[in-house]
């Protein structure tokens, strides 16, 4: 693996972490949002 490959891989990993954070935030929002929706819909 060349230094160039390594740099490219690091950039992709950084992007992957950002994707993961966004998806995780959606999952957490669904969880709390769902409970709160059921609470306030009463």
């Amino acid at each position: 693996m060349t230094a160039d490959d390594d740099r490219r891989l690091q950039a992709r990993r950084t992007a992957a972490r950002r994707t993961a954070l966004i998806v995780a935030a959606i999952a957490v929002a669904f969880y709390f949002g769902f409970i709160l929706m059921n609470h306030f819909a009463r």
């Binding site: 060349t2 992709r12 994707t19 993961a20 998806v23 669904f30 769902f34 059921n38």
Partner: protein, 528 residues
Amino acid sequence: MSSTATAIHDHDLHDDKPVGFWRRWVITTNHKDIGTLYLIFALVMFFVGGAFAMVVRAELFQPGLQFVDPQLFNSFTTMHALVMIFGAVMPAFVGLANWMVPMMVGAPDMALPRMNNWSFWILPFAFMMLLSTFFMDGGAPAGGWTMYPPLIFQTGDAFPFLIFSVHLMGLSSIMGAINIIATIMNLRAPGMTLLKMPLFAWTWLITAYLLIAVMPVLAGAVTMLLTDNYFGTTFFDAAGGGDPVLFQHIFWFFGHPEVYILILPAFGIVSQIIPTFARKRLFGYEAMVYATASIGFLSFIVWAHHMFTVGMPLAGQLFFMFVTMLIAVPTGVKVFNWVATMWRGAMTFETPMLFALAFVIQFTIGGFSGLMLAIVPADFQYHDSYFVVAHFHYVLMPGAIFAIIAGVYYWLPKWTGYMYNEFWGKTHFWLSTIFVNITFFPQHFLGLAGMPRRIPDYALQFADFNMMSSIGAFGFGATQLIFLGVVIACVRGGERATARVWEGAEGLEWTLPSPAPYHTFSTPPEVR
């Protein structure tokens, strides 16, 4: 269609495995090792859940109460479902995804390797907690895997353990799904566009989105059960202004997409295997992708077909009936494309292909009985009967589990570097196929004749078909020991596998040597 890669650089195929059990298996971040852990865990849970099923079928072998009291019987049916769904089928698919998705898309590993380790190691603790409930006051949960209130509140000390273990399973699934989404979206090799990805990666990507959308709903539902039971809320308590039927709506809003979480990766596996052994490209690749996405979308708007009998407006019944039937369209596209792939192909019938073919036929049987259940007035007759048990077991057992077994036979030489024993593989296939049909086909007749599900005893008129079903179940259970033997023998040695393993195999994973080196694609392959 998935494309091929150019030369693999030898210096990228590292094989520096960590030394020692702790470093190799406990704190591993390697996608192949974590895939192996998932698969071993799923196999263990398959035998545990299978043992529970044997108890259930032994009790139902003849009328009257023989081995277990009704409470324990209900615990076994409940735990059989929880263990098989969350402990066997889902982890098996995640294991296959861990092993194969990075290699298929040309990634060096999963995007978040440490989280990958965490999402696996949560599972053994979740299931130890769940299984320990058998030894608690009040016994294991017995209200069915659907956990409907108010029945579920009769659970004894096991209740909080059930809720917490479901939370942990959900957390593990969500983390696994995040990893797969991030890996596929960000770590694909240059040139590996989305519409060049193998179908298995595609079906898993859509499955991962389903998991992200519905696992928090399940977690929310069981959290509300917890707060109803311990903290004075009344989400599902009519006396406090809540509604027990609300739980059913919430549960099935999770539960129906969950059905597709259990079957979409199976579609992906079969879509890899059939072209290989038909020696043709997959017919209608893009149609398969769109059909999978359509099934994923429709899975969110059909949930109430599980609960027609609780009562709902006519417009609701009609909507859920027609939308459920609509799922037959993309599913039909898939079955048509698998058959069209085989049409005039140079087919051979090695064990993975046999299991894949049996999947197509038997899953279709399960799909047809699903269409019958979608018809509202007919469902009023079939609801909570053995017809439903026959239906979902056809989808999950000769459906999802056959696809998992097909995938294991297909990729085993790539994992171990050795060919499995074809004679024993085929023996495993034929005995499994015969016994699984002896087990579940008569259950259609039992249901149509009026036998309710989840009962330990039954009227004399149901005796013959029940005995037949139990004999099939014992045979199927025993046959799986052959599978265990074949896998262990293949891990230990045998005829050397080539890199491509199967003559008709295409895709990046087959450009790697067998067994696949510990680290692969550190330098991204060039995809044309």
